[in-house]
């Protein structure tokens, strides 16, 4: 479904040249739940943004369902079925929850029932949130759950990317989050999650370990977890829910 060929990303700024991703070669198979993990600063989020079209690779190729989408913009990729839940969701003055979910769905969601369905899946009571603006009045955990609800509302998702979905989410919501991924998995979506969380690693069909800009290892949880502790700077990457 998704193939990355010789993908690289570098930045040049006042501190000089820095390679963020180095010659990444990956294939994400259809209907799989794949978790990308690895130390902070290893290039995981950059890779997710490159797949969505938010960042442009400096070299390499991206194939989605056999089509070269390297030069496609964000809108084209979204319309082709790639969805993206942001690590730090964006806030809008004057756009309420119902409107944002309607924009995600591609048509006005009129009935409470539809909006309620998406919100309850992420553990929010629709009556409390449907008319609230997606602005600074929402807490970090609330906006994070609404962000995930936009992915559920988006109609044509074939590949859903979640960039650290657990960040800012409380324990109770976390259980809901796992259920969301399990349900998406059952409905045959391909899911790509950037995460450090053991319980998210647990639901993965495949784990990709990225460190220092390149793929260290690809394998099952049993194969990858022992490796994590040996990766430099990894003491904080494999953490339990309560940490």
């Amino acid at each position: 479904m998704l193939t990355l060929k010789n993908l690289s990303f570098a930045i040049d700024d006042e501190n000089g040249h820095k390679d963020i991703l180095k010659n990444i070669n990956l294939t994400i198979n259809e209907k799989k739940t794949v978790v990308i993990t690895g130390p902070n600063g290893g290039g995981k989020s950059t890779l997710a943004k490159i797949i969505m079209g938010i960042e442009k690779p400096t070299a390499g190729q991206i194939l989605f369902n056999g089509e070269d989408i390297t030069d496609w913009d964000i809108t084209q990729r979204a319309q082709a079925g790639i969805s993206f839940a942001f690590q730090q969701p964006v806030r809008f003055k004057g756009i309420d929850v119902k409107k944002l979910l309607s924009l995600a769905a591609g048509s006005e969601l009129n009935c409470h029932k539809q909006v309620c369905e998406y919100l309850s899946e992420v553990g929010l009571c629709a009556a409390d949130y449907i008319g609230r603006d997606v602005d600074t009045s929402l807490s970090g955990g609330e906006i994070k759950r609404i962000e995930i609800a936009t992915i559920l509302a988006k109609k044509n998702t074939k590949l859903a990317i979640f960039d650290e979905p657990e960040a800012g989410i409380d324990l109770w919501s976390f259980q809901k989050l796992i259920q969301v991924f399990e349900k998406m998995h059952k409905t045959h979506n391909t899911i790509l999650i950037i995460s450090h969380q053991e319980r998210i690693l647990n639901i993965a069909d495949e784990i990709i370990l990225i460190a220092d800009g390149h793929v260290e290892q690809i394998g099952t949880k049993e194969e990858i977890i022992p490796r994590l502790v040996s990766v430099a700077g990894s003491c904080d990457i494999y953490k339990g829910v309560n940490n």
């Binding site: 979204a78 003055k93 004057g94 924009l103």
Partner: protein, 310 residues
């Protein structure tokens, strides 16, 4: 009666007041400088001014509850220019909604200009919701100009909520609002403004919080596109124990210019005053988020602006 208006006049009327027929309540519809139609009710009297000035006096009896007054102004005669004085006397304990607004259709080569001074005398314990929409259209080369001045006097325990909207269409506007608030009185303003092309808009508030425990909240949301220019000035003077807040939040686009000049002045040690002003372009992350839902950049931009000015 509104049904004597032609189609384009009816469209203008609906755009500024929401009216599609004869209003329910007291009204005065002004067309190209003349009273096109007028009606009073038992509690609300609308009369032509007798002091020689062009305009009307609106008198609302004390204890008038849940009634509406419509005073829309329509201009579709290119080159027409007017200066109108409307005075509102709101009786004690009244609770009313006043829907004003001006629509100009200028298809000609001469400038059309409406200048209006609305003066409110809001009685003790009275509540007024004042809704004012400005709208312009027409393919002529003549400008559409509106300069509304609103003078507000709020007596003890009185309240005025003012909603002022101008979205596109007006080439030049200078809007002045001066308010004096007595004991326990409240003044709330929500202003929405969008300018484009080479339009100019100036909005100037001066609020005097004279009475003990008086309060004011002036909130402006503005979008400036193309080469348009805006100047927002808000002066809030705390002359007693009071609460005052002003907020100008603006999105700047293209080659536009926006200036926000907030001023707060405490003339009493128990005055509590806050001002906020922010100008910036649409945040890139907002565009990216909506594009990641499948919208084009233009569509995303439009939804962000629509929401901002909601």
């Amino acid at each position: 009666m509104p049904n004597q208006l032609n189609d384009s006049e009816l469209q203008l009327l609906e755009a500024i007041s929401g009216l599609t027929g004869t209003p329910d309540g007291a009204y005065n519809i002004r067309l190209n400088g003349q009273a096109q139609s007028r009606a009073s009710t038992q509690n609300i009297t609308i009369e032509k001014k007798t002091d020689g000035k062009d305009g009307i006096d609106i008198r609302i009896e004390p204890n008038t509850i849940n009634e509406k007054v419509y005073i829309p102004v329509i201009m579709d005669e290119s080159g027409h220019s007017e200066m109108v004085y409307n005075d509102f006397y709101i009786g004690e304990n009244a609770d009313v909604t006043i829907i004003a607004g001006c629509g100009i259709n200028n298809c000609g080569s001469h400038d059309s200009q409406h200048d209006g001074i609305h003066t409110f005398y809001i009685g003790k314990n009275a509540k007024v919701k004042y809704v004012e929409k400005h709208f312009g259209e027409g393919g002529g080369t003549g400008s559409r100009i509106m300069n509304p001045t609103t003078v507000v006097n709020i007596a003890e325990n009185g309240l005025m909520e003012m909603e002022s909207t101008q979205i596109r269409g007006i080439n030049s506007t200078k809007r002045i609002t001066n308010a004096r608030i007595d004991k326990n009185g409240t003044f709330i303003v929500k202003e929405k403004l969008l300018t484009h092309e080479s339009q100019y808009a100036e909005s100037d508030f001066e609020v005097n919080l004279d009475g003990e425990n008086s309060s004011a909240n002036v909130v402006s949301r503005a979008v400036a596109q193309d080469r348009s220019q805006q100047l927002f000035t808000a002066k809030i003077y705390g002359n007693n124990k009071c609460h005052g807040h002003s907020e100008c939040d603006a999105i700047i686009m293209d080659d536009a210019h926006i200036a926000a000049v907030p001023e707060i002045r405490a003339n009493n040690p128990e005055a509590n005053l806050i001002h906020e002003a922010a100008i910036g372009k649409i945040a890139g992350e907002q565009l990216i988020k909506l594009m990641s839902l499948g919208l084009t950049e233009k569509e995303a931009e439009q939804h962000i602006i629509d929401g901002f000015l909601k």
